[in-house]
């Protein structure tokens, strides 16, 4: 489990997060939602170990601040928002960087064909020889996901769950690839790993997340199952506009229709 208790983060003199409570259990996709500037990215960066924090963040019971980079790399992989490279690496070379970290492979030996398998997973089969710099933003984002998948190829290693931390993983993807990427996340969780994803699209959140945490002004305002947090009043207040939650006729899955731009 990844757990944050009474988490606070300051950048310079500015308090970005305070008294955040957060948990991501193995087997779950936990989505972080909230308006711009609510602290979503800061939260996932703190959990990734990029920012000094107060309070506590633990991964499988170990305090993050005391983990060596190499040990943390065994337990979780992090997908950043966008990565630009200044040197002409091929797609295979970029994805292979995932094999550097922690323990890739299937738990017995490292598979040389892992980069290719990861690329096929993100719908980029045949892209291994292309230059990363020459790909579109969405393709680059999926190459990075393939790299991250290589790092934690098995969701459970030596009976301990591993985690994928995804910062806006579908922000520059078309709808087909949004679904592909979120299915990968879902499958990773179903095989015993944990996924934390910052998401903007509330309907995708409902469709793919097991748990949702709603950030508002640097605090965790609500958390629960999608059904629990998808309430008109809560969302309208957090996003500061009129929102109406409906239900897809043949089931109980909620969906969201924006009503007006201004509350």
């Amino acid at each position: 489990m990844i757990e944050a208790r009474d988490l606070g983060v300051s950048i310079g003199a500015k308090r970005i997060l305070s008294t955040v409570h957060f948990a991501c259990e193995p087997g779950h996709v936990t989505a972080i939602v909230g308006p711009n500037g609510s602290g979503k990215s800061t939260l996932i960066r703190a959990i990734s170990g990029d920012l000094p924090y107060d309070g506590s963040i633990t991964i499988n019971g170990r305090e993050l601040a005391r983990l060596k980079p190499a040990d943390a790399a065994m337990m979780r992989a992090v997908l950043p928002q966008a990565v630009t490279l200044s040197f002409p690496y091929t797609v295979r070379e970029v994805v292979s960087l995932g094999l550097l970290g922690g323990y890739a492979g299937d738990g017995k030996e490292q598979d040389e064909r892992l980069p290719e398998r990861a690329l096929a997973k993100v719908d980029l089969a045949g892209f291994a020889g292309r230059l990363y710099q020459e790909l579109s933003g969405g393709e680059q984002q999926r190459v990075q996901l393939a790299r991250v998948l290589c790092q934690v190829w098995t969701p459970v290693l030596e009976e301990r769950p591993r985690y994928l931390l995804l910062d806006e993983p579908v922000s520059s993807l078309d709808i087909k690839h949004q679904l592909i990427v979120l299915r990968i996340a879902r499958e990773f969780a179903e095989r015993g790993g944990g996924v934390i994803a910052v998401l903007h699209d509330l309907n995708l959140t409902v469709a793919f997340a097991h748990r949702v945490i709603v950030m508002h002004r640097g605090q965790s305002l609500a958390s629960g199952t999608p059904e629990e947090v998808m309430r008109d009043a809560l969302l309208s207040e957090v996003f500061d506009c009129q929102l109406k939650v409906g239900a897809i006729p043949d089931g109980s899955t909620p969906f969201l229709l924006p009503q007006t731009a201004v509350a």
């Binding site: 960066r45 990734s48 170990g49 990029d50 060596k68 980079p69 190499a70 040990d71 943390a72 790399a73 065994m74 979780r76 992989a77 992090v78 950043p80 990565v83 490279l85 200044s86 040197f87 002409p88 690496y89 091929t90 797609v91 295979r92 070379e93 970029v94 960087l97 995932g98 550097l100 970290g101 922690g102 290719e116 045949g126 291994a128 020889g129 292309r130 710099q133 790092q151």
Partner: protein, 365 residues
Amino acid sequence: MNQPAQMILFRRMAEAPEGDRSARARFVLALLVLLLFAVSAMSAATGASDASAIGVLQSWLGGGAESTLSERDRLIINEIRLPRIALGMLVGAALAVSGALMQGLFRNPLADPGIIGVSAGAGLSAISVIVLGHTLLAPVILVLGIFALPLAAFIGGLATTLVLYRVATRRGQTSIATMLLAGIALAALAGAFSGVLIYLADDRQLRDLTFWQLGSLGGATWTKLMAAGPVIAVALAAAPFLSKGLNALALGEASARHLGVPVQRIKAVAIVAVAAATGASVAFTGGIGFVGIVVPHLLRLIIGPDHRYLLPASALLGASLLLLADAVSRTIVAPAELPIGIITAVFGAPFFLWVLLRRRGILDL
């Protein structure tokens, strides 16, 4: 069946999975080793004295009495050309690897110790030792002997690199524009102080300094080599331990850390290695520019940017190119010689402009 080595290499290259350039890189490394041998032999045979290549080889193979070399030729080769070749190789390798390391560290193909002022900082310290060595800094010379010059240059280079890194890097992201501009400012500052020292120098020192500033492998002796060699060798030996870390660093500092790379340690070792290699090179051969930018850039076009291959290939090609430039500098106005810095600048500066043109769109300067 016994297949020639290069046939096997060719087949490996053809069979390499798409996007995997390691077989090609190993092939190029092998070619670069051959090139370095050829260039060294040629360099040993070239110069104002016409000692022949065959005679040189015989002399190398310890051909004692049956050698066709005269005593004078043997002296020229053993005491003048060989130390010069050795120094040229070391300095060429040091400059090229420094460039590649710094480019990896700053995540930018335009970072080069010569361009961003590191050489100027190292130069200032070196000039201080040369000019003030008999007066103000005499105790230092007394204690450190021949190591005073490379050590001073190392400290100057290190200080400049640290200031640059502090100024140009915020939250793990290095701004190329800030880095280049800060480099201009630091180089100007170092230049101003160097100017003061040159003003204080006597006539003999002045002449030495002028040639030193233009860059030259002339005056290489085994003694100088003993002072520069270990410093450069240690710096070069650090490179293989940095290669994987630098590859990861291409993704940015945060992503490298997420992959388990000890980013701070990699950065610290790389900065010290660059300062040592640049410092020792500048101390003994002066302002030889552009090797650090031309060599890694050319190699990235051929074998890609993977530092596991880029760093050793840079060392080999840097050594070969500097020996070639030195051969040109010794023959073009023979029996006099042109400072080698002029040759590298004449070829390197237009190359740098070409790189800029190619990258204009990406750089966003």
